[in-house]
């Protein structure tokens, strides 16, 4: 009040703003802002350095023989024209199929039951906590589980389905948690409105909750798919092949190969990085393989973003 009487309203506002926001005066505010900005800068810088580094490493392969590289196979020497990642891509795509077919339906169904049907008691709370803890368990532990459940019971034979199921189990808790969060975020007015017009529980879940929660469920599920495709540690334990996987012919869609030995993109990369000491050309191959894996993951994530936007628009 006192300020307005001195020099008019607009003048006074400016002076108050100057007082508050003037450079040098709000030292804490300014330094906090620059701290946040530099944190963002560091994260982006690390990302840029990483991407530039793998591109530079892999450029000699990416620029000259990318199609051959994608269709080639694991070889003893980096100079081989047939060197490539087809078997790694194949294994990783199959792992994606396993995660999609096993984790997504089971995880979403479990989340729906936990959020919509299960009574809130000690048992469900314990289950809830257990699932959260499982999501934080290091991935090698899942590798050990896979080794005991699917490899040792199979006379020590490492098979594609062992790797696929192991990674599906690995991401299952993440799918449950993200789906449960998405379902929990559905406004209760939606439920009550639906019940009010006489809908059954199944109707409410089908017509209200799932459509509303779909963007969140999809985002979480597809991000967990990217995680599964990038995992190396559990696959090493389950016995993914590092050196050579004989090309057996047949098509990708034949189910016979589920019982065969397998490899995957992260394993191929680890193997080549190790080989690059003996044969430096493998460093370029490893860089190129990382770029391809990055492209694959970015593709999956953009599918997630597109689907989320689609469902959000529909919901709005």
């Amino acid at each position: 009040m006192a300020l307005t009487t001195v020099g008019g309203a607009s003048n006074a506002t400016r002076r108050v703003e100057d007082e508050i926001f003037r450079r040098g005066r709000d030292l804490k505010g300014t330094s906090f802002r620059s701290l946040m900005l530099s944190a963002l800068g560091v994260s982006i810088l690390i990302l840029i350095v990483l991407i530039v580094d793998v591109f530079v490493d892999g450029w000699s392969v990416l620029s000259t023989r990318l199609p051959d590289f994608i269709t080639g196979t694991l070889r003893s020497q980096s100079s081989s024209d047939a060197l490539g990642i087809s078997q790694g891509l194949l294994g990783s795509l199959w792992i994606a199929v396993f995660v999609t077919v096993l984790s997504f339906p089971i995880g979403v169904a479990a989340a729906i039951y936990l959020e919509e049907y299960a009574p809130r008691n000690l048992l469900t709370k314990t289950i809830d906590i257990a699932i959260r803890n499982l999501a934080g368990v290091p991935s090698v532990v899942y590798g050990l589980l896979g080794l005991f459940l699917f490899v040792q019971t199979n006379n020590g034979n490492s098979t594609l389905y062992a790797g696929g199921i192991t990674l599906a189990i690995l991401v299952l808790p993440i799918v449950v948690i993200t789906s449960a969060e998405a379902i929990r975020a559905v406004p209760s007015s939606l439920r009550q409105g639906a019940y009010g017009v006489g809908a059954t529980k199944w109707d409410v879940i089908r017509t209200q909750i799932l459509p509303f929660a779909a963007p969140g469920i999809l985002t979480g599920s597809l991000l967990s798919l990217s995680r599964a495709v990038g995992e190396a540690a559990p696959l090493i334990l389950v016995g993914a092949i590092t050196g050579r996987l004989a090309p057996r012919g047949g098509s990708f869609v034949s189910l016979d190969q589920l019982g065969d030995r397998f490899t995957a993109m992260p394993i191929v990369i680890v193997g080549w990085v190790q080989e690059s000491g003996r044969d430096p050309g493998f460093a370029a191959a490893a860089g190129a393989a990382i770029v391809v894996l990055l492209a694959l993951v970015v593709m999956m994530n953009s599918v997630a973003v597109t689907l989320r936007n689609y469902f959000e628009n529909k919901r709005g």
Partner: protein, 331 residues
């Protein structure tokens, strides 16, 4: 049920992607098959062969498998390299047909094989020298003796952080310079071989355990060891000869008969004192039962020893040693 149809559509997309991959994969196989020369006659053997074990020997076995594929297109050979010890465990459980090894099989591993009723044939395939190296900028040292190495890396050297500090323990003539040591970790066959060849005898004479000091920088990856060597001007380290490159300085080693530089020739002739043998172990029962496996090992001891070993960077056996190996396998 809208989310359901979305997931179905996603699955369809994945399936489409995979079909593309399948189509490409098929054409690559064809190209590989038709592009190769057909100097050798084609074998009709068929079956699967699984090789596990040493990651050092892994590239030799992969190359032999690639060459064998041209001769016997219906034999599928898979090769993996978790390490010599892991390999023998699988081998003695009957899970693998051949075990790659960068050392000889140990007594307890033999016992394990016997307990499971598995008999095997040991085949020497090549030689790998162990290179002792330093930074290319380090001109003060050109040659080290086993005594020097004991003083630098042996069990009594714990805490020694200069090269000259090793002179107080054993050996002499090392310069005053900081010491940064990089080497393979205790799980590695290269570590075992280095201890056994260089340190063990001296350690026993001096009443010490045959092991390395624990305060060096161990790494399971040869690359990281080489990078470590390049990172410090007066570094010291050891790695398989095939992995050593021009970015590090290889030291001459004196095992009692004068300084010898590591080269393919000095390693093959045993003049260079730190070298180890590389082996494959073949499961006898499986070889007897499988034409494919038997044919593969025949191929390994003939063409494999002649070309593959040297091509991937290891030292091939002398002609005499090759004939001995062949005679042992055939007899």
């Amino acid at each position: 049920m809208k989310p359901g149809t979305k997931i179905a559509r996603l699955l369809a997309t994945l399936a489409a992607l995979s079909l593309v991959a399948a189509a490409c994969g098929g054409s690559a196989d064809d190209a590989a098959g038709s592009g190769d020369g057909d100097s050798a006659e084609t074998s009709s053997a068929s079956g699967e062969i699984f090789i596990s074990g040493s990651s050092t020997v892994e590239p030799i076995s992969i190359l032999v498998a690639e060459l064998y594929e041209e001769v016997a297109p219906d034999v599928f050979v898979d090769v993996t390299g978790p390490g010599t010890g892991d390999g023998f465990q699988q081998f003695c459980n009957g899970e693998t047909d051949i075990s790659d090894a960068s050392r000889q099989i140990k007594d307890e591993e033999i016992a394990n094989c016997e307990a499971n009723g598995i008999t095997f044939t040991e085949i020497l395939v090549g030689i790998d020298g162990i290179a002792v190296m330093t930074n290319t900028a380090n001109s003060a040292v050109d040659c080290v003796t086993f005594e020097n190495l004991y003083g630098l890396i042996g069990p009594e050297s714990e805490g020694v952080n200069t090269w000259s500090g090793a002179n107080d323990i054993l050996g002499d003539g090392l310069p005053e310079a900081p010491l940064d040591i990089f080497g393979p970790g205790a799980e590695s066959g290269t570590f075992d071989s280095f201890i056994e060849i260089v340190l063990e005898e001296t350690a026993e004479e001096r009443g010490q355990d045959a092991t390395a000091r624990s305060d060096y920088n161990p790494s399971a990856e040869d690359n990281l060891i080489l990078q470590g060597i390049q990172s410090s001007d007066t570094s010291l380290g050891w790695v398989g000869f095939a992995f050593a490159n021009d970015d590090v300085k290889l030291l001459e080693v004196d095992g009692g008969n004068g300084c010898v530089a590591p080269t393919a020739e000095t390693i093959a002739s045993n003049e260079y004192p730190i070298s180890r043998n590389l082996y494959i172990y073949v499961n006898n029962e499986k070889a007897a039962a499988s034409e494919a496996l038997n044919g593969f090992v025949d191929f390994y001891v003939n063409e494999g020893l002649d070309s593959a070993v040297a091509e991937v960077g290891y030292v091939a056996l002398s002609e005499d040693a090759k004939s001995e190996v062949r005679a042992a396998w055939n007899g």
